[in-house]
Each structure stands twice: as structure tokens, then as C-alpha cells.
């Protein structure tokens, strides 16, 4: 695969300034309303980040964060596997990992370790070795990259349609009608 740090993939994430990320994470997971970070993301990515935050909860440790990330991946898998097959899902995850690492140098190390077993359990094991901030950042980047990757393949409306249920149950404050494409 060809890394593409300056392309359409990378650009979105380069916009996130490292200082903002650290500030956000160290502020104690108060990032749902954190405007400087949120405003750089697409509506869908915001939803993903918000959903992750929701699953992580207000005071989660690294185990909670790893669990939240893998559970979202699992839900995405459950939504997509019937349609694109298990192999299709695995391929998408691998590509997302690769793109995430290409776009963010600090994720490269994590990516290399996940490469050994590029599935959810391998990912979870690697996440558990990280700091909360790094794991959360990795999760956000990976999930939004996965989503964006799928969008470039099958378009935004169908992607939203297929993955709608992944976000909906966790966002009790968002009426389901609003998520319709």
C-alpha cells in the first residue's frame, strides 16, 4: 500500500493540532463540547468521536477506553460483515490502520504492533499498553479513518445508512430521525 500523508486522507487529521489534542485529553474527557477540535471534523466524524466518548464514559481507565474502541469496531463489523463479508471487513480495518499510521507519526509504533494480529483482539492488546491519551487518540483516528474510507468506496449516504445503528443506541440524546441521510 502507498502511504498518503498529504492526500485527502491525511489532510483532515493534520488539521488537528497536537496541542489541542493533548489539551482536550488532559482536560478530563470533556471533549463533547470542545469546539476548537470538533470544528475541524466532519459531522460524521464528530458523531463517531462523540459516540466513543459516550461509550468511554466520564472517568474511564485504559481498559474502558480499549473496550469502548473495540466494541465500536465490533458493532461496525456486525453491521458490515453480513453485507461485505468477513474478509471485506478485515481488509477495511487493515487499510484504516495503515492510513491512520501514515497520517500520524505517533501512531506508527502502535500500528506496527497491531500489524502482527490485525484484528480486534490484537488491537485491544496493543491499546491496553498505551496511555489513556494515546489510546483515545488512536481510537478516534482509527474509527474516523475507517468511516471515511468506507465513504470513499460506497459514498456518504450508504455509509451513514449502514453504520447508523452503531452510533444511535449510544447517543440517547440524539433523536433517531436526525440521523437519517
Amino acid at each position: 500500500m502507498v502511504s498518503n500523508p498529504g492526500g485527502a486522507w491525511g489532510r483532515r487529521y493534520w488539521l488537528i493540532k497536537p496541542s489541542d489534542e493533548c489539551q482536550r485529553v488532559y482536560a478530563g474527557y470533556q471533549f463533547i463540547g470542545y469546539q476548537p477540535f470538533m470544528s475541524t471534523l466532519s459531522e460524521e466524524s464528530r458523531q463517531i468521536v462523540a459516540s466513543l466518548a459516550h461509550r468511554v464514559g466520564p472517568s474511564a481507565d485504559i481498559a474502558g477506553i480499549a473496550e469502548a474502541i473495540t466494541s465500536i469496531l465490533q458493532d461496525m463489523d456486525a453491521a458490515l460483515t453480513p453485507i461485505i463479508g468477513q474478509q471485506g471487513c478485515v481488509a477495511l480495518l487493515r487499510r484504516s490502520l495503515h492510513l491512520s499510521a501514515s497520517a500520524h507519526a505517533r501512531l506508527a509504533g502502535m500500528h506496527d504492533r497491531v500489524q502482527a494480529t490485525p484484528d480486534r483482539s490484537g488491537l485491544k492488546a496493543v491499546l491496553l499498553e498505551q496511555t489513556e491519551a494515546d489510546a483515545l487518540f488512536f481510537g478516534e483516528v482509527l474509527l474516523t479513518t475507517f468511516y471515511t474510507l468506507l465513504t470513499t468506496l460506497i459514498g456518504p449516504s450508504l455509509t451513514a445508512r449502514l453504520l447508523r445503528d452503531v452510533w444511535e443506541p449510544s447517543l440517547s440524546d440524539t433523536p433517531s430521525q436526525e440521523n437519517s441521510p
Binding site: 460483515t81 453485507i83 463479508g85 468506496l153 460506497i154 449516504s157 450508504l158 445508512r161 449502514l162
Partner: protein, 486 residues
């Protein structure tokens, strides 16, 4: 009350397909869509699925091996009929790749059945079925259980009241595939390639219980999806020509008189003549005269560089909407496509006059694969148009040959009801034009060879060249007085 079963017929949502199928798709039928790669099988399946599936009558689309589902979703979205909102509502995709890879057809069948039981679909698609076939052959299974699989699948789907489509690549129609026997319907798609031209064709090889239209039917795939060009229906209740014969004015002074009072309504007229003889001008005048009498017209132009823009009268008529221009630049036209274009314009404008300018250009516009059947095609077109009640004027380029008297290079003169022929002759070192009415079916007409010339007002018909003879030979001689027996 009849106690016989009534088979509902589903409207497929594919323009022209219901006609070709003989009235839609029989409900609960078990069908095979077959054809080589790239012929439009998956597109046809999707177009029907999006048209037919509703939340009450959902569809299951099983993807097996072959085109990866991600790609299929990516490409199918390019069509207008693809509606993302329907996915996971009325349409559900189910991937069976892993089950198929194992090569265990029983397992594949079990998965299909369990999904069908879970979702109770009215429509089931399996794409591609060929991969199921191949998978069954690669396993270490001495008893290929494919016939059994197909048989069971067919039975199950019917009892579950699901209209089913298996999509498969079959390269030979003579395969002794069990599915050919089990299937109620066989829809075969083809790409006919001749030189640089490609024409898509569809054949309904089998459709139990209904009168399909036999033969190959051309279709196109555009962003709106597939469109099948079914042959124009032959209206059995053809309106009898009213008596006394109604006649249309041609708009050329004295030509009506030559035709015996004008062109009988509903007739087809062939105007044959060499290049520059004024055929297109005559055709434009014919339409203008119609417009003057409140009759709308349709003109089909098949020239490489349409000269309609050079004819101010015609350009005005087209601009004002009194005449519709059918100027299909689509490559590889089929006769049915042209007839459909013309008929739809005729009915849109309620047109009564149609011009085809010219048959020579029309022949070139047709895909090479249809040229061998040109006469037959032309005959069908003339029949379809005149049955629609319109009067048709066709022009035909006629190479000047002075050794034989021909009216059309295609031997098509017999197809038309009336013929006007134009010729050049040489008289005293000048090129003069003459014209004659050769035929007007069931009507008296003038038999004179009249000289005419063309000016800004169109064709001006003059008198016979009574002092000349041998006009049709191109080099008439001055006749000696008293030497003829007229």
C-alpha cells in the same frame, strides 16, 4: 368464478422489459439472468430489485463469490435507481462468500434458507450463481450435488413465495446445466461486437406461462439504468383508412396535382434522387405545409452534419416546437431504438407528418450488426410508423445511373406507398432537374416527367420537356415532330 390460479405479473421497472417478457414478471418465478461478464446482469438485477422491493415486500440480495460487494455497491450507486434509503429497509445484502469458499452447497443452502426464513423476502437474488457452481466442482466431492442444490433452492423459494433470480455467467447456451430445466425464466444478455461497434442484446429464452417477444432485443445501459427497446407493438385494431381518401398538401405548387390531389393520409412516400436534387428541401416543405395547417411533425436526421440548420424554414419550425427533431447521435443504433424515439415524439406532439432524412444516413447510423437486415428493419419501421397513423416521407440518396431505372439503392421501393423520383439530365450543356411521380398506391397520379428548379421559395415545378425524349437515360435527344405516337 374461475378456480384456476391467477399468476400476478410484476412490473420490473425496466423500460421495455415488461413488453419483452410478455406482460411483466410472473410472481414466485425462479429465474436465471445469464450472460458473459460485463453484459449488465447485476445492473438488471439491481434495477428490478429497487423497483420491486418495498418494506412489505422486501428483497434479499445474496452475494456469493465474484464481484466484491463493496465494489458492487460502489458501482451500482452510479445509477439513478439506486436508493441508499432502501438498504437495510426494503433491501438487504447478505454475503455468503465464506460459506461458498468452503464448497459445501448444503451449507450455502442452509444459510440461504435461514436468511429467507428470518426476513421473509418477496424477492431473492443470488449473485453470482456461477461461483456456486464452480465451488461445488472444486470440492473433493465425487457426487457433484449441484442438480440437487438447484432443485431444492427452486422448490424452497417458490414455497416461500419469493420471486427468485440467480445471476450467472454462462458462456455457452448448450451447457447441460440443471438450472436450465428448473428455471421458469431464462433471461440471456449478450454483447454483440462487430468491428468497433458493440450492441447489447437481450433474449428471453424461456418464460413459463406467458407469450414473450421472441428474438434478440437491443438495450442500452445509461445512468438511468437499463432500457430495453422492445419492438413497437403491432396494433391489431389498425384504424381503417377513411374513405374518401384524405390527402395531405405537400406545400410544393403543382406537386399535389401530380400526386393525384396530394399525398394520401397515412401513406409512406419515398423521395429518391441524386445528391443536390432538393430532397431535403422537399421534406422541409412537407413539414412546413403541415405546420401551416396546424399539424405537428417529427424529423429524424441521420446525416453526419445535420443540414437542418442550413434550412431556415425547418430551423424555425424546430425552434417553435411545431416540428420535433430526432437527431440521435448515439452510436450503434438499432431499428427498435429509432422507432421508439420516433413514436414517443409522435405521441408527445400528436404529430401527423414524419420525415426520415435520409435512409442512406440511417443505414450508416445503424450498428453494423443490423445492416445485413436493413431492408427488413426498414420494413418494420415503415409499418410501425404508418400503423401509428402518421404520413411518412423518406428521402433516399440515388446514385445517378442512366443504364437502369432504380428508385432506391436498397430495393426498398416496394415498401412504400408512393414514390417520387428526381433525376439530372443534360440538355444543351445544362444540368436540368426532372421529377416524376412513379407510384401512388390505389390512386391515380400524373405520369409526366416534369422539369423543376430550386429557388429561395423551394421547389418550383414546371412543364414537361415535350420536345425531348430519352430523359431517363440522362442524355435526351430532341424529338422530331410527329414522330411519336402519343
Amino acid at each position: 368464478m374461475s378456480t384456476k390460479v391467477t399468476i400476478n405479473r410484476l412490473a420490473t421497472g425496466v423500460p421495455g422489459l415488461d413488453e419483452v417478457l410478455g406482460g411483466g414478471l410472473p410472481e414466485f418465478s425462479f429465474n436465471l439472468i445469464a450472460g458473459p461478464p460485463g453484459c449488465g446482469k447485476t445492473t438488471l438485477a439491481h434495477q428490478m430489485m429497487f423497483a420491486l422491493a418495498t418494506p412489505e415486500r422486501p428483497a434479499l440480495f445474496f452475494t456469493v463469490l465474484g464481484e466484491p460487494p463493496l465494489k458492487m455497491l460502489r458501482y451500482q450507486q452510479q445509477f439513478d435507481f439506486f436508493d441508499s434509503d432502501a438498504i437495510n429497509q426494503s433491501i438487504r445484502y447478505i454475503n455468503l462468500a465464506d460459506d461458498t469458499l468452503a464448497g459445501d452447497l448444503d451449507e450455502v443452502l442452509r444459510r440461504i434458507v435461514s436468511e429467507v426464513e428470518a426476513h421473509a423476502p418477496s424477492l431473492v437474488f443470488v449473485d453470482s450463481f456461477r461461483s456456486v457452481v464452480l465451488a461445488s466442482q472444486t470440492q473433493h466431492n465425487p457426487n457433484n450435488n449441484l442438480p440437487q442444490f438447484v432443485q431444492q433452492l427452486g422448490m424452497l423459494m417458490t414455497t416461500w413465495q419469493a420471486t427468485t433470480f440467480l445471476i450467472g455467467e454462462y458462456f455457452t447456451e448448450t451447457d447441460t446445466n440443471p438450472i436450465f430445466t428448473v428455471a421458469d425464466g431464462l433471461i440471456w444478455l449478450r454483447q454483440s461486437v462487430e468491428r468497433n461497434s458493440m450492441v447489447r442484446k437481450m433474449e428471453i429464452m424461456k418464460m413459463r406461462g406467458q407469450p414473450t417477444l421472441p428474438g434478440l432485443h437491443t438495450f442500452r445501459i445509461a445512468s438511468s439504468g437499463i432500457r430495453v427497446f422492445a419492438p413497437a407493438p403491432l396494433n391489431p385494431d389498425e384504424t381503417p383508412r377513411s374513405l374518401p381518401m384524405q390527402r395531405l398538401k405537400m406545400g410544393v405548387p403543382r406537386l399535389d396535382e401530380m400526386l393525384g390531389g396530394g399525398l394520401p393520409r397515412g401513406y409512406s412516400l419515398l423521395v429518391a434522387g441524386p445528391s443536390g436534387s432538393g430532397k431535403s428541401i422537399l421534406a422541409a416543405t412537407f413539414l412546413a405545409e403541415g405546420a401551416r395547417n396546424g399539424e405537428a411533425g417529427v424529423i429524424a436526421v441521420f446525416e453526419q452534419r445535420p443540414n437542418h440548420s442550413q434550412n431556415a424554414t425547418l430551423a424555425d419550425l424546430i425552434r417553435s416546437g411545431q416540428v420535433s427533431l430526432v437527431d440521435s447521435r448515439a452510436p450503434d443504433l438499432s431499428i427498435d431504438e429509432i422507432v421508439q424515439l420516433l413514436l414517443s415524439e409522435i405521441s408527445r406532439l400528436n404529430a401527423t407528418r414524419v420525415v426520415i432524412d435520409s435512409l442512406s444516413g440511417f443505414e450508416l447510423a445503424l450498428a453494423p450488426t443490423f445492416r445485413a437486415d436493413f431492408r427488413e428493419s426498414l420494413s418494420r419501421m415503415v409499418t410501425a410508423l404508418t400503423r401509428a397513423g402518421v404520413s411518412v416521407l423518406m428521402t433516399s440518396e440515388l446514385e445517378d445511373r442512366y443504364t437502369d431505372l432504380r428508385f432506391s439503392p436498397y430495393g426498398t421501393a416496394f415498401l412504400t406507398d408512393a414514390i417520387i423520383v428526381q433525376r439530372y439530365i443534360e440538355v444543351r450543356s445544362r444540368l436540368l432537374r426532372i421529377m416524376a411521380v412513379v407510384k401512388v398506391r390505389a390512386s391515380a397520379h400524373c405520369d409526366e416527367l416534369r422539369q423543376y428548379h430550386i429557388n429561395d421559395d423551394g421547389l418550383q415545378i414546371g412543364e414537361m420537356l415535350a420536345d425531348q425524349e430519352g430523359l431517363l437515360g440522362g442524355r435526351p435527344t430532341t424529338q422530331r415532330t410527329g414522330d411519336h405516337n402519343d
